[in-house]
């Protein structure tokens, strides 16, 4: 997919802002994260009989202005789970390889880490995280991560934004260059969290328009 260069990204910070209508969206096939890759026996045992990650398709679009990138995700959800109180929130993430050739399904490794932005309906907040394998995520570098989600008409619309430039440890994005992007979506109503999620089948190439 391509991240189109726009002059001013501020018109794209709202996921239902009109300018997004002019941006072509990519259809991303999703699948449940593999049970066998879950980090422990407990999670495997408790989910082996239980469906999860049932989201089949996600719509993704992106723009950048040379300073910041915005990725807009749209997916179907019959009603939102804000994760208030003891509920689990709907959530979504976009991931980028930091270096090497990390396996998306395994959330990278020490040699090949992953940097992600994760948006959660709880608090409608987006945070930057790094991962070097399953269950290893920790706060990522400061990329001025921001995001906003809104639910309407049976769909979540979420925009996540970050700086292209990053301090050490993050995934560097450069206008005119290509990288790869991965996606994950959690269905809060189904108590999906951590590795129990829908993921894109693999990395998808992402080209930042020069």
């Amino acid at each position: 997919m391509q991240s189109l260069k726009v002059t001013d990204i501020s018109g794209f910070l709202d996921p239902v802002a009109r300018p997004w209508n002019g941006i072509a969206a990519e259809r991303v096939d999703m699948m449940p994260s593999p049970l066998g890759l879950q980090p422990n026996d407990y999670i495997i045992a408790s989910w082996e009989e239980r469906p999860y990650g049932e989201l089949e398709v996600l719509s993704a679009a992106s723009v950048h202005d040379g300073q910041r990138i915005a990725v807009r995700l749209v997916w179907e959800k019959d009603k939102p789970s804000a994760g208030a109180g003891e509920g689990f929130p709907d959530a979504a993430a976009i991931a980028f390889p930091v270096r090497g050739d990390p396996l998306l399904m395994q959330m990278g490794s020490a040699d090949a880490p992953i940097h992600a932005l994760q948006w959660r309906a709880r608090g409608n907040e987006t945070r930057s995280v790094n991962a070097e394998g399953i269950g290893s995520s920790k706060p990522g570098p400061d990329v001025a991560a921001a995001g906003k989600g809104g639910w309407s008409g049976g769909n979540w619309h979420v925009v996540m934004t970050r700086n292209l430039a990053v301090p050490q440890g993050g995934a560097v994005l450069v206008s005119g260059h290509a990288t790869r992007i991965g996606f994950a979506v959690w269905n809060g109503h189904n108590e999906e969290r951590a590795g129990i999620k829908a993921v894109s089948l693999d990395w998808i190439d992402l080209e930042l328009e020069a």
Partner: protein, 348 residues
């Protein structure tokens, strides 16, 4: 497995269900926002649903070494922390207002079935069972955490949730067969009994132990052969883990309850146990039969005026003997805990 293990023995014959432990824990640890509904220590009437309601049917733990799926307990099952319409009732100018818990007439609370129990009058039966995190040798919570945020300390076997790493995923809550983990919806973290680590590391017994007016709780290292824990668990074999079949190897042990004799159809006393032994076996396993025999025999020996090391240990005439090496008073270490000008005192 840790290098050493602290453990607790709770004597159900001395527990009077007063919940001082519950309150001691509450004022010590769980008074902050988001913790209103947390009771890291509970005392339930058995038989009964317990806390959270029906926890023994919620799964978790292991069977034949294999992790068992568990269900996530809800706050309402732990008991909602009711708010009350104090302002309206007491100062609000409505002389007919009734003081009520928030959320309508409740049908469950943390201690809802207090003193109810089972049986049929006059063969009614019940006893109290205090519970905290069992700081298991094989903690199911620790194994279930995908983030490795739960750890068992080498030096004492205390199991802790590293709240700096916890993301509130709550697999631990599901996996713990004792349902001793709570979720803080304000911080988004899971929290549980710390075995009062900040106190224990200063040699001061846990709040639930030291504040227990029933003198119910013994503390110590499992491997300390001179301590009360070792005597009760290994020598006299009267202290048993709760639901050993969950296979987490709890480090909280219970002295099983005696009860007055039951009655025959005419109301005359019989030799039958009032609490069905099958029920006690369902809680403490088959060893409970022998443990109760031992308790009865030793009590009878004392009645005959004979000495009994077991009874002396359980009586613990000198209160601080309950706590093994954790026998300091907070006063003893007060100089180190004083905040001076917003700073922790450094006097030692």
């Amino acid at each position: 497995m840790s290098d050493r293990q602290v453990a607790m023995v709770i004597d159900l014959n001395k527990c009077i269900g007063c919940q001082t432990c519950t309150i001691a824990c509450k004022t010590m640890w769980t008074s902050k926002e988001g913790m209103e509904g947390m009771w890291w220590n509970t005392v339930s009437t058995a038989p009964g649903e317990g806390t959270p309601k029906g926890w023994e049917q919620m799964g978790g733990g292991f069977r034949d070494g294999k992790a068992q799926p568990g269900r996530l307990p809800k706050q309402s099952e732990f008991g909602d922390p009711w708010e009350f319409n104090y302002e309206e009732t007491l100062f609000g100018g409505d002389p007919h207002a009734t003081l009520k818990p928030s959320g309508g007439d409740p049908d469950w609370g943390t201690n809802w079935d207090e003193d109810v129990g089972g049986g049929e009058y006059p063969n009614s039966f019940f006893f109290y069972i205090p519970r905290i995190c069992n700081h298991c040798t094989k903690p199911a919570c620790m194994e279930a955490c995908p983030r490795g945020a739960i750890f068992k300390r080498d030096e004492d076997g205390i199991v802790l949730i590293n709240e700096d790493h916890c993301r509130g995923f709550r697999f631990c809550q599901e996996a713990c067969p004792y349902k001793e983990i709570y979720y803080n919806a304000v911080t988004g973290k899971s929290q549980k009994c710390l075995f009062c680590l900040p106190r224990m590391e200063e040699g001061v017994a846990t709040a639930c132990s030291r504040q227990c007016p029933g003198r119910v709780r013994f503390l110590g290292f499992l491997d300390d052969e001179d301590g009360p824990i070792h005597k009760l668990v290994y020598d006299h074999k009267v202290a048993l883990p709760l639901h050993p079949e969950y296979e987490t190897e709890p480090n909280v042990f219970y002295i099983p309850p005696l009860a007055p004799p039951s009655f025959d159809a005419e109301g005359n006393p019989t030799e039958e146990d009032r609490i069905p032994i099958t029920y006690l076996m369902s809680l403490f396993g088959g060893e409970v039969v022998e443990a109760l025999e031992t308790l009865k025999a030793e009590k009878a020996a004392r009645k005959r005026g004979e000495p009994s090391e077991l009874m002396d240990t359980l009586i613990s005439r000198n209160w601080v003997d309950l706590f093994g090496p954790f026998n300091k008073s907070p006063k003893d270490i007060e100089a180190m805990r004083l905040m001076e000008g917003g700073q922790l005192g450094t006097a030692q």
